[in-house]
């Protein structure tokens, strides 16, 4: 008898505690996926921090959705940059009933994960996957806030053409899907500008000895060389070219736009040009950079401003649609025009960002420095961009 009474008391107490919570707040789970272990774990954590910051700010702002105060939680998962793990983790997030996902970091994990999210109808925004295929699959739920590789090739090529005015350019690639793809785009753009392009030379993604190829090219005396491939092979290419006495300007895509180039090529890396999708983190809205630094005691590394915007886009779409149901807020997200830390964001029909920026970097005494931003075919000097866009982004944000 006593026991039964106790139970009832407990039940009433529990209901009493739980009920007001249900009445006033709404749990909203947003997923984030990136590699948190392995070689690029630091980039995965950077991406996660961006999304986390957006969510914490939204909680502090006490946003109301459907008359209730929304309490956002970030469900952060590790895909190890591995496509197989990527799909497992995606399914896990779907099972946990997240209403939106920011990620994944890599194209290689984003592409196989995208049909899983699409099947569950959950919107997913990548802040760093640049492979064109991601948004070419026709999934209504797939978005990205960063540029595509096929915008990057033309960007670096047209920068090279207009600023360095080469007459003859040699194009080399590493015979991978990425390297060949970006090299083809560069070649197309150069030819369209009536610049003569030498027959394509190829290596592999494991080539260490480029001297045979470079010697052959040296005989044709190109003014510039573009290499489509990663830093591990690109650094060696550059080093060996200088050893052979080649004076050409060397240009690379984002695969070789890293500090590893300086390690591998040493002083030979000075003067190289390369491109990255999106704007560099130091060009992001200063309010964001300051908040990030305050919260995580470090500067954003690479794509954190983009995942920050990604998470904010999801939240903004939910707020405008006044619903956390993916079916209801997805159309809103598609049509949203939002001023984020990386500038104005609007999606095209495929889910790609309209007028995505590309940044051109140059290696100066061992430091990769942004020198120009390319947006809708126009080249803006980096210093000017910082002045103009930084101010605009600050004003546009509430």
């Amino acid at each position: 008898m006593k026991n039964a009474n106790m139970r009832i008391t407990l039940l009433v107490a529990a209901l009493g505690a739980a009920f007001p919570l249900c009445a006033q707040t709404l749990e909203v789970k947003i997923g984030h996926v990136g590699p948190l272990t392995g070689g690029i774990a630091h980039l995965g954590k950077d991406n996660e921090n961006g999304a986390r910051l957006a969510i914490e700010e939204a909680n502090a702002a006490k946003i109301k959705i459907g008359g209730k105060e929304a309490k956002f939680t970030l469900v952060a998962e590790d895909d190890q940059a591995d496509p197989k793990v990527g799909t497992t983790v995606a399914q896990k997030l779907v099972d946990q009933k997240v209403v939106g996902v920011v990620g994944h970091l890599n194209s290689g994990t984003s592409i196989p994960a995208s049909p899983i999210y699409n099947g569950a109808g959950i919107p997913v925004i990548s802040g760093s996957a640049t492979n064109p295929k991601l948004t070419e699959q026709g999934f209504k739920t797939q978005f990205r806030v960063v540029g595509r590789d096929d915008q990057q090739g033309p960007a670096i090529a047209s920068y090279l053409a207009t600023n360095r005015k080469p007459k003859v350019v040699a194009v080399i690639d590493d015979a991978t899907a990425y390297g060949e793809g970006i090299a083809n785009e560069v070649e197309k753009t150069l030819k369209a500008q009536k610049i003569s392009v030498l027959p394509r030379e190829k290596g592999t993604d494991k080539t260490t000895d480029w001297k045979a190829v470079l010697t052959k090219l040296r005989g044709r005396n190109p003014d510039a060389v573009f290499y489509g491939g990663m830093d591990a092979t690109g650094g060696l290419l550059l080093k060996q070219a200088r050893e052979l006495g080649m004076k050409a300007v060397f240009t690379f895509g984002d695969g070789a736009c890293t500090d590893k180039m300086k390690e591998l090529a040493g002083t030979a890396a000075d003067g190289m040009l390369c491109s990255q999708a999106g704007i560099p983190p130091q060009a992001a809205d200063r309010k964001f950079t300051a908040a990030y630094k305050k919260r995580f005691k470090a500067d954003p590394i690479l794509y954190a401003p983009f995942t920050y915007d990604g998470a904010n886009l999801l939240i903004e779409a939910m707020r405008k649609a006044d619903s956390t149901d993916p079916k209801k807020y997805l159309p809103t997200l598609q049509k949203l025009s939002y001023m984020g830390a990386t500038g104005r964001i609007q999606f095209d029909a495929k889910g790609d960002r309209k007028d995505a920026e590309m940044t051109i970097f140059s290696m100066n005494k061992g430091n990769l420095q942004p020198i120009a931003i390319i947006k809708s075919g126009k080249t803006i000097a980096y210093a000017e961009f910082i002045k103009g866009a930084g101010g605009a982004a600050a004003k546009g944000k509430k």
Binding site: R200, G203, K206, K211, T215, K216, L244, G266
Partner: protein, 327 residues
């Protein structure tokens, strides 16, 4: 002509490294008829140990050459130990076993060493510290760097030293005797186990130096670097006549040159637009002016093409003698 000479210089540099690695294969084969597939991994470990030592010492402000020498000085004993251990614990118990058994063991050792290196040095491409500033000298239109000159000189010196050791010293006589007939050599008072162990150790020491040279020349080291280098050196040893020491040297140099010239000119030879029949008919020739069937990414194929051709037309190799029961 400049291009041709340059390719020759490139080929000779790579070839002299192949030659030194090939010596390790050929010495072991000469003495116990074992193809030691783990030799490439010994070269890799040499490069990795030197990488670690140089990274430790370079910030201390010592002269670069001294750092490099200490790095090599640490790599050599480590590789000698690895070479000795694999002979003592993996191959010696299998002496007298069917020839397939030690061969498969060699492949196993190679995988074990590769994965040990993976655990110690990670799977990343490591930038080999470039403490020696590379300087380029131009001779006419041909560029040669101080590092290239050093590599060619060191490799030739090591080859000469090895030749002296094998053909002019009591140890060399014992090695050649063991190679000819281990039983009879044993009866003549030669400790064949010791001679075989020493052969492995010398081969490993040469491999260690080759690893450091490779790292310094290309500026990279990775745990997988031993496998392709090993296969090429093995092809070089077969090209020269496996078991034959001058053959390995010749084979290495030749292979390096064939590879450089092959990669340099294959694109031109397989460009269909150079041939009248296609030039007029192919659209690609009118649009781009070229239609290349096989480009310089086929560089690595040349080593193996050479290997196949040698095995088909001259299985005993360029300098090898036809030995009935071995070929």
């Amino acid at each position: 002509m400049d291009t041709f000479l340059q390719q020759l210089v490139n080929g000779l540099t790579a070839g002299s490294v192949y030659a030194v690695v090939a010596l390790g294969y050929t010495m072991v084969y000469g003495i116990i008829q074992l193809i030691n597939f783990a030799h490439g991994e010994v070269v890799m470990i040499g490069a990795m140990v030197a990488f670690t030592m140089i990274n430790l010492l370079a910030p201390a402000g010592m002269p670069p050459l001294a750092v490099l020498l200490i790095g090599t000085g640490c790599a050599i004993p480590v590789c000698m130990l690895v070479g000795y251990s694999m002979e003592r614990f993996a191959y010696r118990p299998l002496r007298g076993a069917p020839r397939l058994a030690p061969l498969i063991t060699a492949i196993g050792i190679s995988i074990i060493l590769q994965h040990l290196a993976l655990l110690v040095w990670s799977r990343n491409v490591l930038a080999f510290p470039q403490i020696i500033e590379s300087e380029t000298y131009m001779f006419g239109g041909t560029a040669i760097t101080n590092v290239q000159i050093a590599i060619i000189a060191i490799c030739f010196a090591m080859m000469a030293g090895l030749a002296l050791l094998v053909y002019r010293s009591p140890l060399g006589t014992a090695m050649r005797a063991t190679a000819q007939n281990p039983q009879v050599a044993g009866l003549m008072g030669i400790d064949t186990n010791r001679v075989i162990a020493v052969t492995f150790i010398i081969g490993a020491a040469l491999g260690a130096v080759a690893g450091v040279l490779f790292g310094t020349y290309y500026g990279v080291a990775q745990y997988t670097m031993g496998s392709i280098l090993g296969l090429k050196a093995f092809s070089a040893a077969v090209l020269g006549g496996i078991g034959n020491i001058p053959g390995a040297m010749l084979g290495g140099l030749l292979l390096g040159v064939v590879e450089a010239l092959g990669a340099g000119y294959i694109g031109d030879f397989t460009d269909l637009c150079h041939y009248g029949v296609f030039a007029g008919t192919l659209d690609a020739c009118k649009d781009d002016g070229n239609f290349v069937l096989a480009g310089s990414n086929y560089q690595d194929v040349f080593s193996f093409l050479v290997l196949i051709l040698v095995l088909v037309f001259r299985p005993q190799g360029l300098l090898g003698e036809r030995v009935g029961d071995r070929a």
